[in-house]
């Protein structure tokens, strides 16, 4: 008989929906920027170079705390995932 686990069903559904939604929004945003910056307007080259300049002037140490927390959380997530697989066998 079909054994439906409500928790796993909820978890997988939320996972798939959230992943697809986030991917679509991300691709849309990136495509919008690429479309805007590849335009042939008069000063678009200046804008492109200015953006590159701002990216180069970005200081890593301003955000290093947040970045470190994100890396640690990713690591914890992978560990939990591996533990999950180990329990399930």
């Amino acid at each position: 008989m079909f054994d439906l686990d409500p928790f796993h069903f909820f978890r997988l559904t939320v996972g798939w929906v959230a992943t697809i939604y986030a991917t679509v929004v991300l691709v849309q945003t990136l495509w919008g920027w690429v479309d805007y910056l590849s335009g042939g307007e008069r000063y678009m080259t200046v804008v492109r170079r200015y953006l590159v300049l701002h990216a180069l002037r970005l200081r890593f140490k301003t955000f290093w705390g947040d970045v470190l927390i994100c890396v640690l959380l990713c690591w914890v997530f992978v560990l939990v995932w591996m533990a999950h697989n180990a329990i399930e066998g």
Binding site: F7, H8, R11, V14, H54, R57, L58, T62, F63, D66, V67, I69, C70, L73, C74, V76, F77, V80, W81, A83, H84, I87, E88, G89
Partner: protein, 292 residues
Amino acid sequence: MLPEWRSAEHLPAVAASPAPVIVSSGSAPRQLADLPKDELDTLGEEYGLEPRRFKTPQELVAAIHGRRQLIASLDRAALIDVVRWGRRPVPVNATQEQLAFEILRVKSMRFDGLSERGLIALARLRGVEIGPDEAVPVIVKRLKKTEGFWAKINRKRRAVLGSIVSGLVGESESSKEYQFLPPQEQQGQGSAGGAHVPPRDRSIKEEIEESGLFGGIAARVKKTADQYINQKLDDIESRIDRKLDEIDRRLAEWRDKEIANRLRILKITLWASVIVATCSLIYTYLKVHFGK
């Protein structure tokens, strides 16, 4: 391309930038002789000669050639002294010829404040023959002799006019320190010391004495207008610079805030994922070990 004679010697006084090397070669007079008469006359006037006094072009060419050799033989420090005394606008790296051209425009007969070597250089440029051991008063006397009667009367008249106008305007005769123009950089960009730039820091009395009533006043008005416009342009430029800096600073702030915000959202998402994964792990553990 410029003709050969023009490339070195015939450029305007200060506008000509690179050092026109004066070489006394036998071919120079022959090249000058090929010039049209009006151009030759203009060149002669630039060298402080009066072309009408020369009956034939050959004589004028010879005189120009002599002038070049004279200028080349003069002491540069002495020429600088004269330029400072005459308050002529020249760049600090002006060539010997440019200095001489500016000095030839000085018509003043007041030699106060001029060094002895400068006086000798000025006398030689004005065509006064002086011996090696001439005393300063003798040189001054000879220089004054070279000025014609009517020229002297006209100068005196202009000086009186200058005094009157100066008194009307209420200008005090403050003698500021002489300043050179910015150094000229390369050929064609020597306009910093343009030949028609009004002299700096001269009183209106001196300007009227040298250029006449209308010329002096016009030069003063032009100088004042130039200064005003330059000041305004500098103000506008600095305001634009400040505004651009402000825009740049605000963009940088906005960029940092935006990145910090995105990182915060990413962190919240990761926390939620880890919490849900932990709950799932506990659930799975309970289900595997106690669910049967």
